[in-house]
């Protein structure tokens, strides 16, 4: 009798402290029968309020978010656990830069056409969904956001060089890569001590991604040497470097940040999210000096953006796919855009008033939303990415271009790059 009392007392104390259930046996509050869905993201997807909305509409679902600060550790975790065969969330976000590695392991992800709900045709920009469709037609990710490319430039420095500096006037300069580099020659001749672009790799990658065929052909054969486009880009960029057009500042390094602050380069290949980077790095003292034009050499381009995928490890794949489909619908993506500025990849969302009216005060109140929506529609097709595509770009070609900026002979560096690509692809 006495012992019973003690246990009741303890029980009351514990439940008061932790508000946990304390009943005897399976009476009332055993596990509540909800399906728990986990979703792993990085940076800011702007989903927090959407989760609450979804849970309210689906009382049988409980959503847990695993949020990683940066993309790199998130994807490292993704690949490690993919290898381990367990431990992944029901929904895993995948960034465009890592997509080639994920596509190489497509068999470990669910085909969303098969398990997901019916989705209207043409929800996403065609190139966005093409990039995540395997050769045999499986869709392994729903598109979330994108990073359409425009060109950012320093108005004041353009004026100093006697170049046109209004958004309409610069369009002729940014019409093709030839006109871009030609304007660069003109610029560096007039403005000593300031370069035309920040570094060679940033320009080269943008050029490279515009081609139909990149480092691999569709049979996953490495074509670095036989693809004439790659060598042509290489020659154009390294020639510009030899003429002093590059500020030789490695992207995202401290010196690159300093370069923004000191105004050491006049143009920057500019995905939508780069505006925030420029604003924070160039600082308030340079407000109004940077402008962005709805033009990009040779058409359009994309850098960044993500997908939501459902790994085969997931035990609730069907419900996870439902949630992912809902999150990536245009209505929800616009809310995420309002919350965290992630630029939508959905065709309908690109016409939403909230997007079209968005302005950016740092860039002379430009209608940034409408501008990047225009740029997004200029992208024609998704380049096929082979299994080691990301690695070749990051660890082979970018360093090789950097070595040219550090004074290495361009032909030698090209040979190093070709060998490096072959080694990486092996």
């Amino acid at each position: 009798m006495r012992q019973r009392w003690v246990s009741v007392l303890i029980c009351a104390a514990v439940s008061a402290a932790a508000t946990t259930a304390c009943g005897s046996g399976g009476a009332s509050q055993s596990p509540d029968g909800k399906t728990e869905l986990t979703i792993a993201t990085f940076n800011e997807f702007g989903y927090e309020d959407l989760f609450k909305e979804y849970e309210a509409a689906h009382p049988d679902v409980k959503i847990t978010q695993r949020k990683t600060g940066q993309g790199q550790p998130h994807h490292q975790n993704l690949f490690t656990k993919l290898g381990a065969g367990s431990g992944l969330a029901d929904i895993e976000a995948v960034e465009e830069g890592y997509l080639s590695q994920v596509m190489a392991k497509a068999s470990q992800f669910n085909d969303l056409k098969e398990i997901g709900p019916q989705i209207e045709d043409g929800r996403w920009l065609k190139w966005k969904s093409d990039a995540v469709t395997t050769k045999d037609g499986k869709l392994i990710g729903y598109g979330t956001d994108i990073g359409p490319l425009a060109m950012c430039y320093r108005k004041d420095l353009f004026q100093q060089a006697g170049l046109p500096s209004d958004p309409e006037g610069v369009k002729t300069l940014f019409a093709t890569w030839d006109s871009y580099f030609a304007a660069g020659d003109q610029f560096v001749a007039k403005v000593p001590g300031v370069a035309w672009f920040d570094n060679a790799a940033q320009v080269f990658n943008a050029m490279h991604n515009q081609h139909q065929v990149g480092y691999y052909d569709r049979d996953d054969k490495l074509v670095v040497e036989s693809n004439p486009d790659i060598k042509a880009d290489w020659d154009a960029v390294t020639k510009a470097v030899s003429k002093g057009q590059s500020a030789r500042l490695a992207a995202f390094s401290n010196e690159w940040n300093t370069g923004f602050k000191l105004g050491k380069f006049a143009t920057k290949t500019c995905p939508s999210w780069m505006l925030g980077v420029i604003e924070s790095q160039a600082g308030p003292e340079n407000k109004g000096k940077w402008a962005v034009a709805d033009a990009f050499p040779n058409g359009g381009g994309n850098w960044g953006g993500s997908y939501l995928s459902v790994p085969k490890q997931s035990k609730n794949a069907k419900k996870a796919a439902e949630l992912a489909a809902w999150l990536t619908a245009p209505e929800q993506q616009i809310k995420a855009f309002k919350a965290k500025g992630t630029f939508p990849s959905q065709v309908k969302a690109l016409d939403a008033p909230a997007l079209l009216e968005q302005t950016n005060p740092y860039f002379n109140d430009v209608k940034a939303g409408a501008l990047f929506a225009t740029q997004a529609k200029k992208v024609t097709a998704a380049q096929y990415k082979g299994p080691k595509d990301g690695e070749i770009q990051e660890t082979v070609f970018s360093p090789a271009l950097q070595s040219v900026e550090q004074g290495k002979n361009a032909d030698e560096a090209w040979r190093t790059a070709v060998q490096g690509a072959e080694k990486a692809a092996k």
Binding site: G83, Q101, L249, A250, F252, N254, Q406, K408
Partner: protein
């Protein structure tokens, strides 16, 4: 010391040995087994987190094992064969040794000198002694980022100072030697004070009488340093040199964070990619675990060889 021990042993032998009582077999078992039980936790832990990974790495290195591969192919010693012909590996090995020599050699010399200074009758002695340890307390990552800024090729403070005194700026990222000096300076900054405290402790254990006797014989401070202090520091120096060999050959964080764009290549042309950094790049960017494991094993063997060599040389040299 060694002369004293046998005497103690002899003294023990004269005592009658306690005979294990036959009537208590459990207590006999206790005598025999429990010592092993007491030391077991170390060996169990070491086996689980030291020995097992070591052996498993050797096993993995015999496969063409990519992260997430369903069925890795057994390829025998092929990874090691590739490694021998891999120019990037040899370059990484050269970088590692170059950075190791540039850091460990001056570091130990300076550490002994600092220890000698700290051993003098200084005002606020404890303050000075704690002071030399400060760089060791500071976060390695913060330190590396600050040094990376100082050695920035275009806007770094070091180059600004060099230009001010008329020396042409050095590209601390592009030049092989320059980047090694930059990284070695981070290592020196962090470890010199730590090592000098270890040496200082050893110096204070040197009996005063020896110094006093030498003083009476007319030996000056220099003579006493080279003929008494240094030889008596021998065991400590061996310890310091062996540990800094192990640490120096495994250097990773400094070159990793020295790369401005955050990659693992160790410079545009791997100017300062060390072996561990190459291992990391292979395993976690290339996702090639088999090859990375073979790098790990070769590095392991090299470290044992170099540490052994250093041990022998130091034992001979400092007599």
């Amino acid at each position: 010391m060694t002369a004293v021990l046998p005497q103690v042993d002899r003294g023990r032998e004269q005592q009658p040995r306690p005979r294990p009582a036959r009537r208590y077999p459990l207590s006999k078992l206790d005598n025999k087994v429990s010592p092993y039980l007491f030391v077991a936790p170390f060996f169990v832990l070491f086996g689980a987190i030291g020995l097992f990974p070591l052996l498993y790495t050797a096993y993995v290195s015999l496969f063409d094992w990519e992260v997430g591969a369903d069925d890795p192919a057994f390829i025998g010693l092929d990874n090691y064969r590739t490694l021998v012909e891999d120019a990037q590996f040899w370059q990484a090995l050269f970088n590692t040794f170059s950075i190791f020599v540039l850091s460990s050699a001056p570091q130990i010399v300076v550490a002994v000198l600092i220890a000698a200074l700290l051993n003098e009758n200084l005002r606020a002695r404890t303050g000075w002694r704690m002071g030399v340890l400060l760089p060791y307390v500071a976060s390695l990552v913060a330190l590396t980022i600050i040094f990376g800024n100082l050695f920035g090729p275009q806007y770094g403070l070091v180059n600004t100072v060099l230009s001010a005194v008329g020396i042409p700026p050095i590209d601390w990222q592009a030049s092989t030697f320059g980047s090694h000096v930059a990284i070695a300076s981070m290592v020196n900054w962090r470890w010199t004070g730590y090592n000098s405290l270890i040496v200082l402790a050893a110096m204070q254990a040197i009996p005063r009488e020896v110094h006093e006797a030498a003083l009476v014989d007319g030996a000056g401070p220099l003579r006493r340093f080279f003929s008494i202090t240094l030889p008596m520091l021998k065991p400590t120096l061996i310890f310091v040199i062996v540990t800094s060999t192990i640490g120096g050959l495994q250097i990773f964080t400094e070159p990793k964070l020295y790369e401005p764009s955050g990659g693992s290549g160790g410079g545009a042309e791997h100017q300062y990619q060390t072996v561990v950094l190459y291992l990391y790049q292979t395993a976690f960017q290339g996702l090639d675990l088999g090859y990375a494991s073979s790098i790990a094993w070769v590095l392991f063997l090299i470290i044992i060889a170099v540490a052994g060599l250093n041990f022998l040389i130091t034992r001979r040299a400092v007599r």
